[in-house]
């Protein structure tokens, strides 16, 4: 293709047998560590989980009993699992519905905030640096009925009658944890949208302004359509993240009260490490895997089809 290509080719031919075999072996040598790690810690466990799903085993002794598809039949009719899966779906839907609009508004605000925008962006981003355990513990006390600041704030602004036992009430617990998830991840999507807005060509908005278009029109008619691809990516990320959620909810509620905030992952954890049902816990994990992969591939295909159309 290039001059160097032509010059190097004879050298390759003349390198001899040893160099040639090194050249053919080289890809294998470079890939070996990555493939080994992934085979041991990702592929094998994945297959093993399906194997364990066919056992009745407490994980301790050697009394594992092969029960075929019994666990899978149990899973299919296990209302606790499906309620947990439904909570994952609710988490996904509300994550998208709450995070996207707020993140978009904040991105537009910072886009127009001038000099203050840098420092605001830096401060908004702080929750993303926190571990979900830290946030889980922090918000457990933030929501506390008696000592928590949330009820104190409501009281202070005259909305004291809205004070609640946020994490202890079966009707509120899931919403309360979803709010924390949104609080943490909104800045992530905000930065994503800011990058999208920054890539909108300034000349086009200048030209539109000269033609008499208002800022509002430019936003709705030009910038928002320009962000379509970014928003789609954000939705996919947010949904996939929500289906796999564990840490924060495990720390804040443990899935309670009475399973009100149970997710597939917390349900799996409870089965394995609290009830010592390794077999059935693995069935839950494998079922979760199938659900996540199905939804993710549908979403990815869907978003890719749009990508090529636009």
């Amino acid at each position: 293709m290039t001059l160097t290509d032509i010059v190097t080719r004879p050298a390759e031919g003349g390198a001899g047998g040893a160099a040639l075999s090194l050249r053919t072996l080289a890809p294998a040598i470079f890939l070996a560590p990555a493939i080994l790690m992934l085979a041991v810690y990702l592929l094998y466990p994945l297959v093993d989980s399906f194997r364990l799903s066919l056992l009745d085993w407490n994980g301790l002794g050697s009394d594992a009993r092969f029960v075929g598809l019994d666990n899978w039949k149990k899973l299919a009719s296990d209302t606790l699992f499906w309620e947990a899966a439904w909570n994952n779906i609710l988490l996904a839907v509300f994550s998208v519905l709450v995070q996207m609009p707020i993140a978009l508004v904040l991105a537009v605000v910072l886009d127009n905030a001038g000099r203050g925008s840098r420092i605001l962006k830096i401060l908004y981003f702080l929750p993303l640096l926190m571990s979900s355990v830290a946030l889980g513990v922090l918000f457990k006390y933030f929501y506390d009925v008696t000592f928590g600041p949330l009820n104190a704030i409501l009281d202070f602004v005259g909305l004291g009658y809205l004070a609640q036992d946020w994490l202890g009430d079966t009707r509120l617990a899931l919403g309360a944890v979803i709010a924390v998830v949104c609080w943490q991840y909104i800045p992530f999507y905000m930065v994503l949208f800011m990058a999208g807005l920054a890539s909108f060509p300034a000349e086009i908005s200048e030209a539109a302004k000269l033609d008499g278009a208002s800022e509002t029109t430019i936003f709705w008619k030009m910038k928002l359509p320009h962000l379509k691809g970014t928003i789609r990516t954000a939705v996919v990320l947010s949904v996939i993240g929500a289906l796999r959620y564990f840490d924060l909810i495990y720390v804040m509620t443990g899935g309670g009260p009475e399973g009100a905030s149970e997710l597939m992952a917390t349900y799996m954890y409870r089965n394995v490490f609290s009830s010592f049902q390794l077999g059935y816990g693995s069935t839950v994990a494998s079922g979760m895997f199938i659900i996540v992969i199905l939804i993710a591939s549908v979403l990815l295909r869907f978003s890719k089809r749009y990508e090529t159309e636009v």
Binding site: P33, A34, L129, M130, P149, E215, F289
Partner: protein, 279 residues
């Protein structure tokens, strides 16, 4: 008229109002955390949530730091540093092969590895737990390194492959003319030129692993081997009603990343946004 005066006035008011509103939403929980950490247990029960601490009381900090907190910290540093170095080496080697070598199934293997990004790690939890017990690694810091490296590889290989594809072919050709084999080209040309890509994956994985909870929770059990996120968990079990002490632990565990952030905000924001490649 570009925009009506009314619209412009609304914008002028709305921007700072919304900007400050979200600033409050973001910072109030942190203020509560830091303020409470300076209070005594007695004070936290009796005074209002909003009352400033009576004195800049460092008793909680003293208590926590004189306990095993530093062991957790040391374990975190060790596990994260070793894991991140391994991730950088292993993923850059693989990325070099994908970006620059021609071999059968190149695209297919790359696709499979990248698909690893959407696998929920929870399915690997029980098998890895059993494997770790069998290997005799259970409840040691080394138990965490394998899962940490493996789960970070898909996204890291993806980022570095994209990065290495941008490195001009001419540099590689020149090195080859000088008689360099694939290993010399990788170590002398590609690694030095991949600095920005490597720093992105180091920051992203470093932060993710620093905060990692579930593997650490399942694969370690004693104070001597556990990492910082577990410190919060363990202290929570131990102090139960001592909210100021627990929030002191939360503050202290968050401090290292906040300090790092103070020095390189742009880099860290950029590194964290690498997560937007997931899927």
């Amino acid at each position: 008229m570009a925009s009506s005066p009314v619209a412009r006035a609304t914008g002028r008011v709305a921007v700072p109002v919304l900007g400050l509103f979200w600033l409050a939403v973001t910072t109030v929980p942190f203020l509560f955390m830091v303020m409470t950490s300076f209070k005594s247990q007695q004070e936290s029960f009796s005074s209002s949530v909003w009352a400033l601490p009576e004195a800049l009381d460092l008793v909680n900090y003293n208590d926590v730091l004189s306990g095993p907190f530093l062991t957790y910290f040391k374990n975190s540093v060790m596990v994260v540093v070793i894991s991140v170095l391994l991730i950088m080496l292993i993923s850059s080697m693989a990325a070099f092969a994908f970006a620059r070598m021609r071999f059968r199934f190149n695209e297919a293997i790359f696709g499979l590895i990248v698909a690893g990004m959407i696998v929920p790690i929870h399915i690997t939890l029980v098998p890895i737990y059993l494997m770790t017990r069998q290997l005799g690694l259970y409840d040691s810091q080394f138990a965490l390194i394998g899962p940490y490296v493996a789960t970070s590889l898909p996204i890291s290989v993806f980022i570095l492959t994209e990065f290495m594809r941008q490195i001009p072919k001419e540099l590689e050709e020149a090195a080859r003319l000088d008689g360099c084999g694939p290993f010399a080209i990788f170590f002398k040309v590609f690694l030095p030129l991949s600095g920005p890509g490597l720093s992105t994956i180091a920051i992203y994985n470093g932060i993710m692993l620093w905060n990692e909870f579930i593997f650490a929770y399942v694969l370690t059990s004693s104070t001597g081997t556990r990492t910082l996120p577990l410190a919060i968990w363990d202290y929570q079990g131990q102090y139960t009603a001592n909210i100021p002490a627990i929030l002191t632990v939360v503050t202290l565990t968050s401090l290292p990343l906040v300090v790092a952030y103070a020095f390189g905000q742009e880099k860290i924001v950029k590194g964290m946004m690498a997560g937007s490649l997931k899927g």
